[in-house]
Symmetry: C2
């Protein structure tokens, strides 16, 4: 039996994945738009449940929560009007996206352009152009002498999470926010029909990016606890608004056709050169329009509603270690039809599940550990389904989960890409090397595997590990976040994408329908979808079946010492003379480096033990030593969960990888340390400097504790 276990790769499981099934499942799921909390989405959940059951997963069931969602008025779209001094309408947006392929896009609800958790209301005022709406953009505006107080902020998508943009604008006094996608980002080859959808993947003029602007993960009314109807709801909507998690001002998204009507009228100085967008007009800062008395009116119909959401959960129970879980996750709720985000992933996940069951039925193999399949709901609103699930099952996940493999969507066919943590780098490339390249054009260029295109597109930035493609740290923005940040479970967030840009032009538009997958970027019988599924399945199998879990913690420790800590030295050392308040922090940093060295040393010892163990017994069964080593390897990441380090942000518990407060999408390392450093260099008084210096020392000391825990946990005894 162990022979089958070792040799299964490529021969059976991977071959069993079929593109035509993915295509069929994609159609099944994306035939209607399915925003979370709607009847349509309930139907999709049910379809997935039935599909998984039919395909043989065990114990397939819903895990439900009642959470605060937000909806537009489907009868009365949100509108932006340009009014003259007599309140006469000079221009009005119609608030809906034009249907281009009626066969796939005809549900009127899907056309509505809106932003989830916008405050409802009408506001009138002058426009200020705020570029990307980042903190530095608002600071720049101030320096340029443009006041946002009482004005409507016009903000360009890209370069950050839209929720942060809105929060910054609100903080600077804006009474409303208009978000738009600039052709400079979404129609880079030109806005004429030939160069946009449905002829290319670039965004056509009439659509707009939907999305949520909530500034937290999970239900805003039940922080840190699951939103189950029988538990106490500690927050009201008013509480959530007053703590800044939900905006108190109206927000809406606008197409670039509509945005043009505003930008072309703007008065004020021309924007700084790098702020100029792709519309054929000189962008100006405002405030207001050249024509006296004209202004903008935003009319946002929005309502908060508590609704039921349903995660779909299913299993393949492990043969020897049923209490150890390898978790595969994707969400199924979408802003529209969702054929890219997220149902390219949903369809693949269903096929991965089916292929596993088929393989089990056709061979005498079963995975040694349990494989858990998760299809999340309400991800789009703020990772709600997965966050509530992690809050409810935190203890079980802490004890049982080995790895969480997230695949949200495929957005293009250029290359594989992954965000993960260093202990997974080696296994990631080992698996990617096994997966045939889905693009014939790439194979023709000699790149036969997924890995080959990947390393070519994102070459290593490490001299020591030239064979590792550049992999980012997992940020927020998809369902892996609570698994890593809240519980300390190693995660991978992977996809196929374009080579140059993290987003994609049709993101959250009406045009995420099957046509796009099938005719725009995966024209070869869903070969890209299939390859992604093969990667997913093989990753799951490797983690479910290897007697010693393939976490390479030596690489993890090496990164801690030679990348993270080294960078911190570079950032803190220059403060030596200017900031005597950082003296304690510098001492802790010296100690941290010692701790990291000790960790590296201990990892090398363990590695030798692993090699000997693997030689002497490659079976899963009766392999007490492998089980003991696996327990230690699994425990390492948990060491970096610290529930006390950030009392102000209690959900951000990972010392190394929790997301920065400044950009909820971005990934960062040791964000609490860097926040303290930031506070120190911006402190104005001696008292605040001393406090910031103490905080910095304390935060570094927390990291030390994590490293010491990791070192202890892989030792023979405590």
């Amino acid at each position: 039996m162990s022979k089958i276990r070792q040799n299964l790769t490529n021969e059976t499981l991977i071959a069993n994945l079929k593109g035509e099934n993915i295509k069929e499942y994609l159609h099944l799921i994306t035939v209607d738009p399915h925003v979370s909390g709607t009847l349509n989405n309930k139907k999709v959940g049910k379809k997935i449940l039935n599909l998984w059951k039919k395909n043989g997963l065990e114990n397939v069931h819903f895990v439900e929560y009642t959470v605060l969602l937000s909806y537009p008025d489907y009868e009365n779209p949100n509108r932006v009007s340009i009014l003259d001094a007599d309140q006469k309408i000079l221009y009005q947006s119609n608030g809906t996206s034009p249907v281009i392929l009626p066969k796939e896009q005809s549900d009127p609800d899907a056309a509505i352009q809106w932003i989830a958790y916008s405050a409802p209301g009408e506001v009138e005022g002058e426009i200020v152009y705020c570029h990307y709406g980042r903190l530095e953009d608002f600071e720049r505006l101030k320096k340029l002498g443009v006041e946002l107080e009482g004005k409507i902020a016009m903000i360009r998508y890209s370069h950050g999470f839209r929720g942060d943009k809105v929060a910054f604008a609100q903080k600077h006094g804006a009474i409303g926010v208009i978000l738009f996608s600039d052709p400079a980002e979404v129609a880079q080859e030109g806005i004429d029909a030939a160069h946009v959808y449905p002829n290319t993947e670039w965004m056509p003029e009439g659509d707009a990016q939907r999305g949520s602007v909530m500034l937290t993960d999970g239900d805003p009314l039940t922080p840190l606890t699951p939103s189950k109807p029988d538990l106490y709801t500690s927050r009201t909507i008013e509480d959530a608004i007053s703590v800044g998690i939900l905006p108190k001002i109206p927000v809406l998204p606008l197409s670039y056709r509509d945005a043009y009507e505003i930008i072309v009228r703007l008065s004020g100085k021309p924007v700084p050169p790098e702020w100029q967008g792709g519309l054929d007009v000189t962008y100006r800062l405002g405030p207001g329009f050249r024509e006296a008395g004209t202004k903008v009116k935003m009319d946002v119909k929005a309502k908060y509603e508590k609704r039921e959401i349903r995660n779909v959960i299913g299993y393949i129970q492990g043969e020897y270690e049923p209490d150890k879980y390898v978790i595969l996750g994707n969400h199924y709720d979408a802003w529209g039809y969702g054929s890219l985000d997220p149902n390219s992933g949903t369809a693949i996940l269903a096929e991965v599940a089916r292929a596993f069951v088929q393989t089990i039925n056709e061979t005498n193999w079963k995975p040694a550990r349990t494989i858990m399949f998760c299809n999340w709901d309400a991800e789009e609103y703020g990772l709600i389904g997965s966050t509530e699930f992690v809050e409810e099952f935190e203890k079980e996940l802490n004890q049982r989960a080995i790895i969480y493999l997230n695949m949200d969507l495929i957005s293009a066919n250029n290359t594989f890409d992954a965000a993960t943590i260093p202990s997974l780098y080696q296994t990631m490339i080992d698996v990617a090397k096994k997966i045939p390249n889905p693009m014939e054009s790439e194979i023709k260029r000699g790149r036969e595997t997924v890995y080959d295109t990947w390393i070519k597109t994102f070459p290593s930035n490490s001299e020591k590990y030239p064979h590792f493609p550049k992999m980012k740290v997992p940020g927020g923005g998809s369902d892996h976040a609570p698994f890593l940040n809240f519980v300390g479970i190693p995660v991978v967030d992977f996809r196929y994408r374009n080579a140059t840009w993290d987003e994609y032009p049709l993101y959250h538009t009406l045009y995420e329908t099957e046509f796009t997958n099938e005719h725009i970027f995966d024209t070869n019988n869903f070969a890209v979808h299939r390859a992604v599924g093969q990667f997913w399945a093989e990753m799951a199998r490797v983690f479910a079946d290897s007697p010693i879990i393939p976490f390479n913690i030596t690489i993890y420790a090496d990164n801690l010492l030679n990348v993270y800590a080294e960078q911190l030295v570079k950032d803190i050392d220059p403060l030596k003379h200017r900031y005597p308040e950082a003296e304690d922090a510098r001492k802790q940093l010296t100690n941290l480096i010692k701790n990291c060295r000790e960790f590296v040393h201990r990892c090398h010892q363990l590695e030798q033990k692993i090699q000997i163990s693997q030689k002497s017994n490659s079976n899963f069964k009766d392999n007490i030593e492998a089980a003991a080593i696996s327990n230690k390897l699994m425990a390492v990441e948990r060491c970096f969960i610290n529930v006390y380090a950030r009392p102000d942000a209690p959900a951000k518990r990972h010392l190394l990888y929790s997301v920065s407060d400044k950009d909820s999408y971005a990934s960062s390392v040791m964000s609490a340390v860097y926040d303290a450093l930031d506070t120190l260099v911006h402190a104005k008084t001696d008292e605040t400097k001393i406090a910031a210096g103490k905080e910095l020392a304390k935060q570094i000391s927390y990291i030390q504790s994590g490293v010491q825990c990791a070192t202890n946990t892989i030792s023979n005894y405590i």
Copy 2:
């Protein structure tokens, strides 16, 4: 092999425990006084280390911390003087305990009477008699019109933790505190020589109870993090004083001979009848003395010092599940020679370790799981060694620890007694029934086992479980506390004691030397010590060897529903009409009861599964089902750890069993719920009532989450 595993009881392991070894080890350890942080205690640590190594434990090593301790001036004892109006000394205590058995008690350092963490200093003032110094006593004083502000509080030991007494006195304005043991507690048969030590176990006139008055567990300067020299120390001594963890006023203990000199002079009204103590004089409240101008001067020499402490750790590695730990713990630091507290336990622990190794060497048996032996340092100062250890190894303990078995001391020979949680009740009595009664007098009365005397002395208070002796919930006061409160590890704290009184007269006196063990209460070749060791060893074996860990969670669930929740209903229901603010809480309570019922139901299902599993495979090896069930059983207690429920007291993380703020020694159930209830019924304004009502609902909801987690965790899947 499994046959030996099952039948080992009584035949080998228990028989291998020898009273003469315990006697020898006790002598070895108690030959010198050994306060934590002193050279003497370092020597004791080393002796234990060597003894364990010699006796065959594996990987015996120190785990060291550098922590804030406190010492007297050994050259200049603390003194209380009674001064007349001209500052002439009318009486002065000498601050030392009289040596009674010079052979065992001659080290002058041991005679010093002092209180750890007292502030240093001299204060002069009038005395107010404050009875037991409980909150209600200070309130009573107020009602009686006696003002404590600027006075010295004279407080009787007993009925609560001395640290709380001092904190309450300080809060009420006292400038110093004198603690004394009243003959009503410590010399109940009379204070004449015939009725006190060394002729009996009652306290003679010249000694006083030593102890710590720190109001936290663990090093006061490094809350929640281990006190390792390379980590950052977040608090200063001044911080610790200003947050109220260390007193800012001087404190000293006084013998009842010295206390008499004060009490006999007191003016003011006679105390309420129940406040009258056992000295032959009418106790008066004060303030001050009858003779005008006389007052009391306290002169306390105390110093804070950072010193090294050393826990001793050793192992017997498990054969099949080396990563699961059964932990046995006792501390070895003492206020004096420590022959009762704690070295009666230390000697037994060493013998338990030796007997295990002997048994392993003589048979072909080894425990399936790892047994870990812990000898803590600095327990007396505030559970410092164990708390720092739990802080440092929290993650490992969370993952690995099955049970923590604490035995601090034996204080008398009357009966076995234990504090534990309901899931352990059944195994406790199963094991106690296997241990022969060490008292011949009891055997003569037909009580042949430890259990027989135990159930006779502390009969059940449950109709449903008449065979369970009354077992208290584990409170603070010994090293089990951080294991249960901080990590959620099931604990037992057990001892032999007298039948009527939780403390013992010679507690923390100079007279805790071998003579007391050997000639006062365990005269039959250390039979009581041996029986306690046999219980300890057999408990450890049962938890290390049973394929399914013997936690009875059905009894746990039943207690939750029918004892804890039922009591809460009784306490909250009467508020229905007077407190509409408790409406949400009453709703949550109804939900809680439903949750508990579901938990009970699920426990019954699991129980059936356990029975079937035990019938079909009683082996440890290859018993995947037993391992899976054990993992679930082990996970239940962890469900009641909630790091968010008490942001004001972050170390008190156990929803059910964390200790009340009002008495750091006492055990209580759901203390945060009851604290919220208390706040509600004492609230004066509508606003505070509403806030308290919300807090109450929220706290009950946290308990629900714990019960739901427990229910989920024992299910087949999440």
